[in-house]
């Protein structure tokens, strides 16, 4: 029986009287129709010249029915999207302590530089002599990543963290094959993010879960029994999803290697130790780095990300295509497997078209150069300091499953809500009314009713104090039995709780034109 997952609590209730207006807009918060309900046929917001007369070369394959895109003028389209944007929480506008997502400030300098024509307007297949500057960015970013992680090799190719994980495991699979071994199992701790087991399965391995200790970590005693000759790799997140540093990591790495397996580290939380710890010194064989977490590339409402992977010597040769080489003629790609093998590499293949997320490389490098190594170290210290400050300021009224100090995020369970009738979800929704984005809830799964708070280095003490004050007040509200305000929450958001059950039972995944009403004869 699978008990895992995020509950929803949908109670259809009285419309909040205060929200009733003639237009149903509420001050600056506008109700906005779908673009399809706004558009008119024939209208367009882009003035393009009429094509000079020409002889069509499509013949029978010309499109017969239009896609059905609404037509709008530019001001209409702009207003539509501005109004939509106003219905989003954002890190620019408010505290966004979404645990394990690392919602830190996104410097606009990064955006400006990524838009330079020399980066934004270069084609992935144009003559390589004409993109030496792009190669130089990739080389410099690689240098930073290798130096910061203390690892000898890196590939920039993966399009996101999840693809980085896949990249790491496919390299491990290739390395095992090169050793003439077939190992089928990947060990993943219970507390791991769901992507880890999903990736292991995608890479053709079977997944075996490893239980966590009572203090939220993995220890050798618990791992050892799993370490057989059929184990290909262990996937460990460090700092882990409970916001804790895996103390035994070096011993674990040794045991993993003794068992002939590889050690994959999920680098999602690298931001907690960047500039302070070189994962290379922890015995790691591969680790992906989410540039959008540690290195401030924007989350963009859910991507695009970028997930470069650093490798140990044991795995370096198995990095995916394309490879980058530098010789007298300057930089160039090796895109063909035979050429790569001739050069002694054993790439496991190609993960995507072209060469990775250039736009993200520029942004991340801009952030690195801005902070420098001293700044990055301070980033880690401030992130950890802020998380511990939140933990220390709340643990007397909320319940923390594990004693501090924590790393970059503070984890609470719902013990403190026992008997109040208020759930973690209710508590999160109440925070919305007070102007905060809720923390990550019901993750990690190993903690009941988890609330994972990650302030990052971006927040001022003032903001943290305000959040603490609100959280403490909400706790006493809950304890005072004022459950109604929680159950109704949020009431001040553009929408109140949404019916996820309806959405899943009767999926409506796209707009459809209303069927024309039959006119009576």
């Amino acid at each position: 029986m699978n008990r895992q997952g995020r509950p929803t609590d949908f109670v259809s209730g009285e419309a909040d009287a205060g929200s009733k207006t003639i237009s149903s807009h509420r001050g600056l918060d506008h109700e906005e129709p779908l673009i399809f309900e706004l558009g008119r046929e024939g209208q367009t917001g882009v003035d393009l010249p009429e094509a000079a007369p020409f002889k069509d070369r499509l013949g029978a394959l010309a499109r017969k029915t239009a896609p059905g895109l609404p037509g709008l003028s530019e001001p209409e389209a702009v207003r539509h999207y501005v109004r939509l944007s106003q219905r989003n929480a954002s890190i620019d506008a408010s505290f966004y302590p979404l645990g394990s997502c690392t919602m830190k400030h996104n410097p606009r300098l990064n955006e400006k530089l990524a838009r330079l024509p020399g980066f934004a307007d270069i084609h992935p297949l144009q003559p390589q002599k004409t993109v030496q500057g792009a190669f130089a960015v990739m080389a410099e970013l690689s240098r930073w990543l290798k130096e910061l992680t203390g690892m000898p090799a890196v590939t920039l190719v993966p399009k996101a963290g999840a693809q980085g994980e896949l990249c790491g495991l496919l390299a491990i699979r290739a390395a095992l094959a090169a050793r003439g071994e077939t190992r089928t199992k990947v060990l993943v701790p219970q507390s791991a993010h769901g992507t880890n087991p999903a990736t292991a399965a995608a890479a053709g391995f079977t997944v075996e879960e490893v239980k966590a200790t009572t203090d939220g970590r993995v220890d050798l005693a618990m791992l050892r029994p799993h370490l057989g000759s059929d184990v290909a790799a262990v996937m460990l997140t460090n700092p882990n999803t409970c916001g804790l540093f895996e103390r035994d990591i070096v011993a674990i790495a040794d045991a993993v290697h003794d068992a002939g397996a590889y050690f994959y580290c999920d680098g999602a939380n690298f931001n907690a130790i960047v500039g302070k710890v070189k994962p290379g010194a922890l015995g790691i064989d591969a680790m992906h780095i989410n540039l959008h977490k540690t290195f401030s590339t924007p989350h963009g409402g859910g991507g695009p990300g970028a997930g470069p992977v650093v490798f140990s010597e044991r795995l370096a040769a198995f990095a995916p295509l394309p490879l980058i080489v530098h010789d007298k003629q300057g930089f160039r790609f090796i895109e063909d497997e035979d050429e790569a093998r001739a050069k002694g590499a054993q790439p496991f293949g190609r993960m995507c078209a072209f060469h990775g997320q250039m736009g993200m490389f520029v942004r991340a490098l801009s952030y690195m150069l801005s902070h420098g190594v001293d700044g990055l170290r301070q980033v880690a210290e401030d992130a950890v300091l802020s998380a511990n400050y939140v933990l220390a300021s709340l643990k007397d009224v909320m319940s923390a499953p594990y004693p501090g100090p924590c790393m970059h995020e503070a984890l609470f369970d719902d013990e403190f809500l026992k008997g109040t009738g208020v759930s973690t979800l209710d508590f999160a929704k109440a925070l919305i009314d007070d102007g905060f984005h809720p923390p990550t809830v019901y993750f990690p799964l190993v903690v009941h009713g988890a609330m994972l708070i990650e302030p990052t280095e971006t927040e001022s003490k003032r903001t943290l104090d305000e959040f603490v004050r609100v959280a403490r007040a909400l706790v006493s509200e809950a304890k005072a039995g004022n459950t109604a305000r929680f159950k109704r929450a949020p009431v001040l958001a553009p929408r109140r709780r949404l019916d996820e059950t309806l959405a899943a039972r009767k999926p409506v995944l796209r707009w459809k034109r209303e069927p024309p009403k039959k006119s009576p004869p």
């Binding site: 003559p127 002599k129 004409t130 007298k328 300057g330």
Partner: protein, 377 residues
């Protein structure tokens, strides 16, 4: 107004030239040897058959050092050559352009070995002040230009040059064409490049002025080596089909018409990021209507610069930009610009010398094949 001639400058080897009995003439503001007692013809043939030593210290040498940026990128703001693409020890012929699509000078640029990106430049004597001023100004954001007035420049040219220089400078024989390196030449620290302007294999040796005479004498002491003056230098470069700035190239000539489109780097052509790019890229595709050609005159009268070139009907079609007698071919040759449709090899033309139209034929350049030591690649 000032009646007296401007004070002529002298190179550090002036005494040596005089001592060798050279005939000294004014050239580009310098007192330079036009020929030695040997005579221009013999000097010319000697350079082709053995080795000749030229004093080219009057030319402008300088080093462009990084200052907050890459000097190569900085230099590219005033030349269309691919300077950034120069690897350490690599040398390249480059042009300075004006905004009318004309040439304001030509020069040599090389990336110094172990120079932290610094560039070594050699510009023409007559234009060195203006060139240096322009380069310094254009590059000041990222680099500093350090002219080297107290350095001399010797050219050792000819088929025996390698053997001769190898006796005085270990390792020079391995130097490839248009490459440069630091060597000890006859005990003096020098920067030597395998280059020249005669069409022969040879070297150019940049060294401290105080060492120049000693090194020059050491080389002249070699049996294969004779000193060569400006006279032979000009006939040698003419036979080699090499343009001379101020004569075959000037502010009004298009580098495309001059056949120097190759000096514009491929990357630069795509980026169109140099002065007059639009004009020159269009000329590359559409042509300029004019073309620099070589001419062989069919009777013995040499044609001089400025002589009118006419077609067989006597219609003027261009002018000679340099001309003279070719000792190697034992015939008068010239180069000049003509309408493209008359530029094909073998085209019959005329050159007007002293009011008389003389028969000439378009001849592929170089008139005398180059004998550079290109390293295998």
């Amino acid at each position: 107004m000032n009646e007296n001639l401007p004070e002529l400058k002298r190179t550090v080897l002036h005494a040596l030239h005089v001592g060798l009995g050279a005939k000294m003439v004014p050239f580009a503001g310098y007192e330079m040897p036009v020929q030695y007692p040997t005579g221009i013809l013999k000097e010319h043939r000697h350079a082709r058959e053995s080795a000749g030593l030229f004093d080219v210290s009057h030319m402008g040498q300088a080093v462009l050092k990084p200052a907050g940026g890459d000097p190569a990128r900085a230099l590219e703001t005033i030349t269309p050559a691919d300077i950034a693409g120069l690897s350490e020890g690599q040398m390249r012929y480059a042009l300075l352009l004006n905004d009318k699509g004309g040439v304001s000078d030509d020069f040599m640029a090389a990336r110094l070995p172990h120079g932290k990106g610094a560039l070594y430049l050699v510009v023409n004597a007559a234009t060195k002040e203006s060139d240096f001023a322009a380069i310094a100004d254009e590059t000041k954001e990222r680099a500093t230009l350090e002219p080297q007035p107290d350095r001399a420049l010797l050219a050792l040219q000819g088929p025996r040059a390698e053997a001769v220089l190898a006796r005085h400078a270990q390792g020079v024989a391995e130097l490839g064409f248009m490459r440069l390196g630091h060597f000890i030449v006859a005990g003096a620290r020098a920067t030597v490049s395998r280059s020249g302007y005669t069409g022969e294999d040879g070297f150019e040796i940049s060294l401290d002025a105080k060492d120049a005479e000693r090194v020059a004498r050491a080389l002249l002491a070699e049996p294969e080596v004779l000193p060569i003056g400006l006279g032979a230098r000009d006939s040698l470069r003419l036979e080699a089909g090499l343009p001379l700035y101020g004569h075959d190239l000037d502010e009004s000539t298009s580098p495309i018409a001059a056949g120097l489109g190759w000096t514009i780097g491929k990357r630069r052509k795509l980026a169109r990021d140099f002065l007059s790019a639009d004009i020159l890229m269009a000329e590359l595709l559409e042509g300029t209507g004019r073309k620099r050609v070589g001419l062989t005159l069919l009777d013995k009268t040499p044609a001089r610069e400025g002589a009118e070139i006419v077609d067989t009907t006597g219609r003027p079609v261009g002018h000679v930009t340099s001309g003279g007698f070719s000792p190697t071919l034992n015939a008068p040759i010239a180069m000049g610009y003509v309408d493209t449709e008359l530029a094909a090899d073998g085209t019959e033309l005329g050159v007007v010398v002293r009011e008389v139209q003389r028969r000439a034929v378009v001849t592929p350049m170089p008139f005398v094949p180059h004998r550079y030591k290109r390293s295998a690649e």
